[in-house]
């Protein structure tokens, strides 16, 4: 088995090198037809959310193309399972995941670029295309966008706050009058949550990486403890448990929704995934961009893109390319995926449909329009833990510089070790 995988890889390498400008490899064998035919089968891996809806459209695709399509569900740790399985030749042909996996998947040679034509690219939201572009290549077909915004209980607060200061003031007033118990719900938990704090942090001037000359995040330049970032951490401290109390480590993923739907808080920083519960509880709400500090930078949420990837060691690669580049990029599939999991579609035509059907979609997109595509470089994975620790430390009232320095040291150490 292993032997065969190597042969297939050599075959692909030879055909790729035939294209290479420097043609010094004439002595290499020409493309050997792989023994591993796909057997007319396309295997797709997805997480729990997406399996059911994909199944229906995958079956349709199978019928049109005379193949059987299997959709497999990996409940936990999809990215790691995919990379490991792929390496051993047990992986799928197509995998569905978040765009920030790309850096890691590429360095492991687990996915192939998807060659979208210029005309196909123009069908997608520009931010989505940018997010799936890595090292100059498009590595996946985007299908949904996600970002967080400020969800507000309009019965408690009719107008959106213009700044974080306004928000805190409105929250404090409500708390004093006993109407709510929390000023703001921004999940943090005992380990911190860089994703949910980032907009406020960025408004305070904080950043994670410097930029390379090409404008990409630079893993060799971690800016978590730059002067600007320390200033941002100081602002978080002021909002924290020893300050105004808007940010608390006790507010965590498992209690934010319940607290908001019980009307114990008027402001909730969250994404479209929690709207269903809010609707079910009958809360009147509005979605607006997360406000920044008065006179500060705009609050920039992370922009996440869900995408389809073509596995480079799949057994039906042409079919996988066809599915990803030419099938899931069509409107009906995008609409169906939206219906199953209401995150704004990446395909512009489907986005228009969704906007008409649900006014919230436009609001989410508006809140994310200046968002920062989540860095897809592998080094981004080193940020979460140490940054979260620093966040917790300052929210509890710790010294911002000490916390930021400790985080930067941990991040830099980790990045340096892994070169």
């Amino acid at each position: 088995m292993r032997r065969r995988t190597v042969f297939a890889a050599l075959g692909a390498a030879a055909s790729a090198s035939a294209l290479a400008a420097c043609g010094s490899d004439k002595d290499e064998p020409t493309a050997t037809p792989s023994k591993d035919k796909g057997n007319g089968k396309l295997v797709i891996w997805a997480d729990t959310k997406r399996t059911a809806v994909l199944k229906k459209y995958a079956d349709q695709f199978g019928k049109d193309n005379g193949v059987t399509v299997e959709v497999k569900e990996i409940s936990e740790n999809l990215q790691q399972v995919f990379v490991t399985a792929s390496q051993q030749g047990s992986g799928p042909d197509v995998v569905v995941g978040a765009h920030d996996w790309i850096g890691n998947l590429v360095q492991n040679g687990a996915i192939d670029p998807v060659q979208l034509s210029a005309q196909q690219k123009s069908l997608f939201a520009a931010a989505a295309v940018k997010a799936v572009t890595f090292n100059g290549q498009i590595y996946g077909a985007p299908y949904a966008l996600e970002n967080i915004a400020l969800v507000r209980n309009t019965d408690l607060v009719p107008t959106a706050p213009a700044s974080i200061e306004d928000l805190v003031k409105a929250g404090q007033d409500l708390k004093k009058s006993g109407k709510v118990s929390e000023i703001l719900l921004d999940q943090c938990g005992a380990s911190g949550d860089a994703y949910h704090i980032y907009p406020i942090y960025s408004s305070g001037g904080g950043s994670l990486f410097g930029l390379t000359s090409a404008g990409d995040p630079d893993p060799n330049n971690v800016t978590v403890n730059s002067a600007d970032s320390i200033a941002a951490f100081t602002k978080l401290k002021e909002l924290g448990e020893k300050g105004s109390g808007a940010l608390k480590t006790s507010i965590a993923a498992e209690n934010v929704v319940a607290t908001f739907t019980a009307k114990k808080a008027a402001f909730f920083i969250t994404g479209s995934w929690n709207i269903a519960d809010i609707k079910k509880a009958g809360i009147k709400y509005d979605i607006t961009p997360i406000p920044g500090f008065a006179g500060g930078k705009p609050a920039q949420p992370f922009l996440g893109v869900q995408a389809f990837f073509v596995a480079s060691k799949g057994k039906s690669k042409a079919m996988a390319q066809e599915f990803v580049a030419n099938y899931v990029t069509n409107k009906e599939v995008a609409n169906a995926l939206y219906a199953a999991d209401p995150r704004p579609p990446a395909l512009l035509a489907a986005q228009d449909d969704a906007k008409t059907a649900d006014p919230d979609v436009a609001k989410w997109l508006d809140a994310g329009k200046d968002g920062l595509p989540m860095p897809a470089i592998p080094a981004m994975n080193e940020i979460w833990g140490p940054f979260g620790n620093a966040e917790v430390a300052v929210i509890k009232g710790g010294d911002p510089k000490t916390a930021a320095d400790a985080a930067a040291k941990a991040i830099n150490d980790a990045i340096a070790k892994k070169k």
Binding site: V6, L19, Q87, Q107, G136, A190, S191, K317, A318, G385
Partner: protein, 567 residues
């Protein structure tokens, strides 16, 4: 126990088949008092027993043994032969012969009983351990998972960029004289086809395809009818998927390749590997990246790793091990983590054992009523999925929203302070673990002959003295291995830490190691935190294993005198 015994007597025939001769269990020179006794059993004339052993059960037993071997060979061999895997065939045949021999001979009785479980143990426990250990001497991890060939393939595939300004095409794969060709229909910016620029692509290059009209198009604007060409239907095209994916139509700048089965684009390779210099050249910048066989990367002269970061797996000798001891991040925190780790594992075992034993003793009385209900309730914590309950406990400890503070009116930041976080973990682990100890202690209590306990109470010893002198030592004989194994389990209890505290709380000036980190959770973060370093993780596993094993063996030495009572 009806179900088990019915079935097991069936398979028991297998083990029984060869074993039914004279028991050869005792090895010569066996120490202990049982040797002479067994000797008597052995010396009983075998000939007397033999006639009654050739029974139906005896024959059935052998048949089952032979059937098993036959099935193994019959089902196991064909796929191996088909793929020319002769080593596999050899292993399987040898295994079959071994099994046949073992269960047909009268020798090797212990092995007959040990073999079934041992086979599984070796294949599914020992082999993974060996694989892991061998990984420890490599740089295996993200970016270094495959071979150099695979890395080169990935680099070259990833470097195929679309030629700027070139057309993109609607593709119709077709056959001409039995050979694959690409019928290419250029599309404009709106996605509409440009009929008069249609082309035929072969392995030799492009040529014009004149005289097409709308009549040649399908609804999806693909070419569906072209005289002289046999356009492949979608199922036919998918059957030739690999061929289509590998097909390249050479052009001046690069080649036209398919993008799926219905589109094609013109590509050129930006980075190319040259075997002559064992290097990758970026044709855009002209930078040369020679292969660094020590690191498993293509690195340019100025130390930049080739963008994309694809590397390959290379051996690194003892580097992963030396890093554990020389790297300040790792070794600097090692001792404090280790101390807490031992304390955590010890306390987990002691508390669960104490509570489990007390419960077992309390319910171990014929006078006691309601034991069935009590037992069922006590077993509940163990019956709930543990990962779920770990999450539940975490939420109960929440300072503002948690049940514990709310119920008692406290404001304790349980998981936010080192001491309380550690206490909380011990408590959670007690809750999760005591039913296990309760179960095994209950089982073990049954094994203590009543005569012994009764004898001690006749001697006038109090219940407590009786327990201390008779029951506890006997219990410990049976349970010491379990306690040691429980210690080892808790020493590496990754889930409890990961799901409840995730290692935290962290000191403000140290974002690397938290107050409740165990060696396993701490190194998990170091090795997997972002970019997985599986080789390093394997080295750490070896070290952790060595520590646990040494501690366990010491534990055994101390309790061995107990075991000698019975063995």
């Amino acid at each position: 126990m009806t179900t088990p015994s019915t079935t097991s007597s069936g398979s028991g025939g297998v083990t029984g088949a060869g074993g039914s001769g004279s028991p050869r269990s005792g090895l010569p020179g066996q120490r202990g008092s049982d040797a002479p006794k067994r000797g008597t059993g052995k010396s009983a004339p075998p000939s007397e027993h033999r006639p009654r052993e050739i029974t139906v059960g005896f024959l059935v037993g052998r048949l089952i043994a032979l059937g098993l071997v036959a099935a193994l060979l019959l089902f196991g061999l064909p796929p191996l032969i088909r793929t020319d895997n002769w080593i596999g065939v050899g292993v399987l045949v040898a295994a079959g012969a071994g099994i046949a021999y073992l269960y047909l001979t009268r020798r090797h009785v212990p092995l007959k009983y040990l073999l079934p479980g041992t086979v599984f143990l070796i294949v599914f426990q020992l082999v993974p351990v060996i694989l892991t250990v061998s990984t420890a001497f490599t740089n295996f991890g993200d970016g270094h998972r495959g071979t150099k060939e695979e890395a080169i393939t990935a680099i070259q595939t990833g470097s195929l960029e679309q030629v700027t300004g070139a057309a993109s095409y609607n593709l119709s794969p077709a056959l001409k004289d039995g050979k694959l060709v690409f019928l290419l229909l250029p599309v404009d910016d709106k996605g509409d086809p440009v009929l008069d620029q249609a082309k035929v692509g072969t392995a030799d290059g492009l040529s014009e395809l004149p005289g097409l009209t709308d009549a040649n198009l399908s609804l999806t604007k693909q070419l569906s009818e072209v005289p002289g060409y046999d356009i492949l239907s979608k199922p036919d095209a998918s059957a030739r998927g690999d061929e289509i994916a590998n097909f390249a139509v050479p052009t001046e700048q690069g080649a036209i390749k398919s993008s799926g089965l219905s589109k094609a684009v013109e590509l050129k390779a930006v980075r190319a590997y040259d075997a002559a210099c064992d290097c990758v050249t970026d044709t855009k910048t002209g930078t040369v990246y020679p292969a660094d066989e020590a690191k498993g990367y293509f690195v340019s002269a100025d130390g930049t790793v080739l963008s994309g970061g694809q590397g390959w797996k290379v051996g690194v000798g003892w580097a992963n091990f030396t890093r554990i001891f020389t790297d300040k991040t790792v070794s600097g925190n090692f001792f404090s983590v280790f101390v807490w780790n031992v304390v955590f594992a010890l306390l987990s075992v002691l508390t669960t054992f104490a509570l489990g034993l007390v419960c077992a003793l309390a319910l171990h009385s014929p006078r006691m009523r309601g034991t069935k209900i009590y037992r069922t309730i006590l077993i509940l914590p163990y019956a709930m999925p543990s990962f779920a309950m770990l999450l539940v406990w975490r939420d109960m400890f929440n300072k503002d929203f948690g049940l514990i503070n709310n119920l008692f009116g406290w404001h304790i930041d349980w998981l936010g302070q080192p001491t309380t976080a550690r206490l909380s973990l011990i408590l959670v682990n007690l809750w999760l673990g005591f039913p296990y100890m309760f179960l095994v202690a209950t089982g073990a209590l049954q094994a203590i002959p009543k005569e012994l306990t009764e004898a001690s109470s006749i001697d006038g010893a109090t219940a407590w003295q009786g327990f201390k002198r008779v029951t506890l030592p006997l219990l410990l004989v049976a349970l010491t291995p379990l306690l040691i194994s429980s210690f080892a389990y808790n020493f590496n209890n990754f889930n409890a830490i990961k799901l409840v505290t995730d290692g935290g709380p962290y000191a403000i000036d140290n974002a690397t190691v938290g107050a409740t980190d165990l060696l396993i959770s701490y190194t998990y973060r170091l090795a997997f935190g972002g970019i997985a370093q599986l080789g390093f993780a394997a080295a750490v596993s070896v070290i952790i294993f060595t520590l646990v094993a040494v501690m366990s063996i010491i534990g055994f030495r101390r309790s061995r005198s107990l075991e000698e009572v019975y063995s």
